[in-house]
Symmetry: C2
Amino acid sequence: MSKLVKNAVGRMVPTEINGQEVIPFKGVGKHRPAGRKYAPPIPTAMDYPDDGNKVVASLKEALTKCGLKDGMTISTHHHLRDGDLVSNTIFDIAHEIGVKDLVWFPSASFPCHDPLIKYLEDGTINRIEGSMNGPLGKFVTQGKMKGTAVLRSHGGRVQAIQDGEVKIDIAVLAAPSSDPFGNANALNGPSACGVLGYATTDYLYAEKVIVVTDKLVDFPNLPMEIQGNYVDYVVVVDKIGIPEKIVSGTTQITKSPDRLLIAELTTQFLLESGILKDGCYMQAGAGGTSLAIGYFVHQLLKEKGWKSKVGFGGSTKYMVQMLEEGTMEHILDAQAFDLGAVASIAKNKNHHQFPVFNAYNYHSKGNITTMMDIMILGATEVDVHFNGNVVTHSDGYLLHGIGGWQNCLHAKNVILPIPLFRDRIPVIKDEVTTICGPGEMIDIIVTERGIAINPKRTDLIEKMKDSKLPIKTIQELKAEADAICGPSQKPNLSDEIVAAIKWVDGTVIDVVRKVIE
Amino acid sequence: MSKLVKNAVGRMVPTEINGQEVIPFKGVGKHRPAGRKYAPPIPTAMDYPDDGNKVVASLKEALTKCGLKDGMTISTHHHLRDGDLVSNTIFDIAHEIGVKDLVWFPSASFPCHDPLIKYLEDGTINRIEGSMNGPLGKFVTQGKMKGTAVLRSHGGRVQAIQDGEVKIDIAVLAAPSSDPFGNANALNGPSACGVLGYATTDYLYAEKVIVVTDKLVDFPNLPMEIQGNYVDYVVVVDKIGIPEKIVSGTTQITKSPDRLLIAELTTQFLLESGILKDGCYMQAGAGGTSLAIGYFVHQLLKEKGWKSKVGFGGSTKYMVQMLEEGTMEHILDAQAFDLGAVASIAKNKNHHQFPVFNAYNYHSKGNITTMMDIMILGATEVDVHFNGNVVTHSDGYLLHGIGGWQNCLHAKNVILPIPLFRDRIPVIKDEVTTICGPGEMIDIIVTERGIAINPKRTDLIEKMKDSKLPIKTIQELKAEADAICGPSQKPNLSDEIVAAIKWVDGTVIDVVRKVIE
C-alpha cells in the first residue's frame, strides 16, 4: 500500500489503491476534475448482423466472443436485487474456463451473491468494487479479499465509469425483456423490475455489452432503456431472476412504536420548519421509518390541499398512492422497490423512468439532488460533528453499500431519522467509524428522544426556537444515549486497509480497516 | 488543396479537406475504424446552480459565457425546418461581436437560412458542413465559400461527431419546450415539432450546450429528449420558429398522372416480388410519389389482412393513418413531417421517438436500416451502374442535402421510384455527376416507362421473369429517355473542389467541383 495522507475530513487515506493513483478528499465542491470523459472504442456496423439478430446460444459463448480473460472488469446492475440469477453465473463460467483475477463491478450486491466468496478465495475474482452486504462485507473486513474493495455511491459509480477511473471490459446486463438487437427494458416479463437505469452508464461506456434476458420479444422492444446500438450479444436463458426476491411483494410501514415516534417527529418538524410546503420536491427511502414519514406527509398534504411537485424514487406503492391520490405530481424513478411501483411505471404517465445517470452524477452539468427540498436518509452512525456513516457498523464490519446516500446529501434539507441506539449500541458517536459524508451536509437528526439541528443551519434553529418539539443539541442527544448504554467502545482495527470509500467526485473520503477478531 | 487519389468508385478525391486528413472511400463495408470515440471534457456540478435554474437573459449572453470565439464550430438541428428562427440569430450575434471564421454545422439547412450568405461573404462564417439547398448550395458551387463544404448523411453526421472528426464547440439547440435545467422535448408548445432526435449527438458530444426555447415549463419536463445534465445554459425567446413552416400543415399525395403511375408500378412490383409481405419493415419519404406508394401499400395491406410491423419515419399523417387503421404496428420516428404526425407522437403509444443516433450511425453496434424490407428513396440522377446522386443537378449545382439517403441504402431492398426525365433532362446517365451511393446498394429503379432491376439481384430478376410489369434493363430505360430528350450534356466544371461528400463511415466518396458559369 502506498503512503497515507490526511484528507480534508482528517482521515488518513492512501494515494494509491489497487495500483491506481487516487486523490484524497479535498472538501465538498473543492475538487475540480481535469481531462476528458472516457472514450470506448469505435465500433462498426460491419461487425454486426444485418438482420439485427445478435442472439448467441449461451452466456459462455457470449463471454468467450467478448474475449473474457484474466484481469478483466465485469459490470452488472442490481435491478434484480436479491433475486439476481445472472451475476453468479458469470463467475461460474469464468471459473470453469479458468480465468483469474477478475474485478466484479456491480451497482450493488445482495445476499444472493454470497456464493461468490469461493471465487474470491480461489482467485477467480481479485476484488469487488461495489456495495457489499452481510457475508461478503464481513469477508472483506476480515482482510480476506486479494484486492482492495472500492465503494462508491450510485452517482459516484456513474462518475467513475464516465471519467475512466473504472474501465468496464464486459457489461453483463440482465434484462426482463429484450429484442434480438438488444433493445431492452424492464416493464414486463417474468422478471419485470420496472426500470434499468443503473445499467445506463455501463452500456454507454463498456467495451463489450451482453444483454441476458428470459423474455425475448420481437423488434422493436420499446422504450429502449438499454439501446441495442450499444449491445454486442443477446443471450436468452430460462430465468434471469426469482420474481419474489427481485421486488418485495409489499414494502411495509414500521410497526415499532419508537420508529413511528421518530416518523411523527420528523413530519412535524418538516411542517413547522416550513420545509414541507406546497410544490416541494421530496425523496425518501423504502425502509419502514421512511415509509411511515411518507405516509404521514401524504396525510398532511391531503389535509392542507398541497401537493409535492416531484418525488424521487426508489419508488414504493406508498409513493404510487400519493401519485394516484393527487398529493404527488411526478415520480422520477431510478429503482422500483415493490410490485405496486413496477405496475405503476407501466401504467401511470407521470411515473417516469429516471436513471441515476441523470440524477446523481456529480461530474455532469448539474444534479437533480440539489433541487430536493426534503431528503430523508438513514445512517449506521453519526457523530457530534454531524458526519455520517452508512457502510460500517460500530464494530468495524463493512456490512452495507453507500447506495445514493452521498449523492442525496446535496439536497437542500437532509434529515436523518434514526434511533438513538440499536441493540444498546449508541448511534451518535464522538467520531464515526467511517466517514461517508461530511457533517456540513447533514442538517437534521431526528431520534425518538429529540431532534438535533446542525449549528450551521441558523435559519432552521431560528425558525424552530418556539417549537414544542424536543429540539436538543447533538451533544445532549449523545449524552442521553451514553447514559443509557454506557460509553461507546472503539472497534478493534488493524492498520491494514481493506476498502476505500470514494466521495461523489472520485476522491477518497475514508478507508475501512481490517477488523482484528 | 492536397493531392488527389482515385477512390473505390473511381472518383478523384483529396486526402485533405479544410486542413484535416481524410480517407478516400474504400468500398462498402471496407473501412474499419480505429481508435476511440470522441470524449468531451468532464464537467462538474459545482459549476452549475444548485437550484437547477440555468436560464440566462439572452442568446448573446449564453454564447459569450460559452466563450464564443474565432474558428469555433457551432451546431444546430433542423427540426424547425424552414421555420427556424434560431440559427440565423447565432450568426447575427457573432457578426455583431466581430467573431470570424466560424463553422456552421447544421443537421440540415433550408431556404430560411439564405440570409447567412452575407456572413459567408464577410468572413463571419468560414464554411458550412451540412446540407445546402437552393441559394446556399448555388453560392458554394460558384466557388464563393471560403472553406470547403462537407456533406454527410444524417447517420454520417452522428458518426463524424462521435468519432471526433467534427468537434462541436457550442451546440445551440432550439427546443419547443424546456425546463430551467435544460430538459427539453418537442411534444408541445407553439413550435412543437414532435421529436428532437437530430440533436442527440450534439448535446452528448459538444463542449457547451445552449437550449433555446419559447416555452419554459416547470421542472421536470419529460420525456427528456435533450437531457438537462448535458446543458449549460437555457435561453428563453419570444419565438423559436414559424409554426406553419416548421411542419407543413398537410403533406400531399402527388396528383401527377406520371408520378401516380410510378407509384402504382412500384406497389405492384413490391407485391409480385414478395418484398411486400405480412410483418414487413418499411420506410418511405414524404414526397408526393412516396406518399402515393404508402397509400397504395396501405390499401393492399388492408385487402390482404396484412400489417407492416415497423414503419420508420420521417412520419406523415398517412403513416399515422396506417397505425390507426391497423396496417402498421409501430412507427419509429426520427422526424415529423406534418401536423398529423406531431399530434400522433404525443398521443399514440406505438408512435415512438427514435433518434437517427440509434437508427443510422454506421459506427455503432448495428444499424436499424439493414433490417428494412422496403426502402423507398429518391435521386436527382442514377447511372447505368445504378450509382445514385442526391446532391447535385445535372448542371453541376449542389442543390440538395444527403439526408438519411446513404444510411437507408443499407436496407434489404432499395427502390428508387423516379421519373425518366425532369424538365426534358434525362435522370439516367452514363455516369452520375456526383456519386452519393454506390450502385451495388440500389436494387430497383421504377420509372413511368419501365422498371430496371440491378443485375446483381438475380433473385428478383428470377422472381419477376413472368411478370406483366414492364421490366427492362437500365440501358433500355436510358435509351428511351435519350431518344426523347436527346443525349445528356456534361456539366461545365472547373477543377476546383467546393464540397466533399462523405460516406457513412467517414470516408470521401466524391467531391463537388465549381461550376463554370
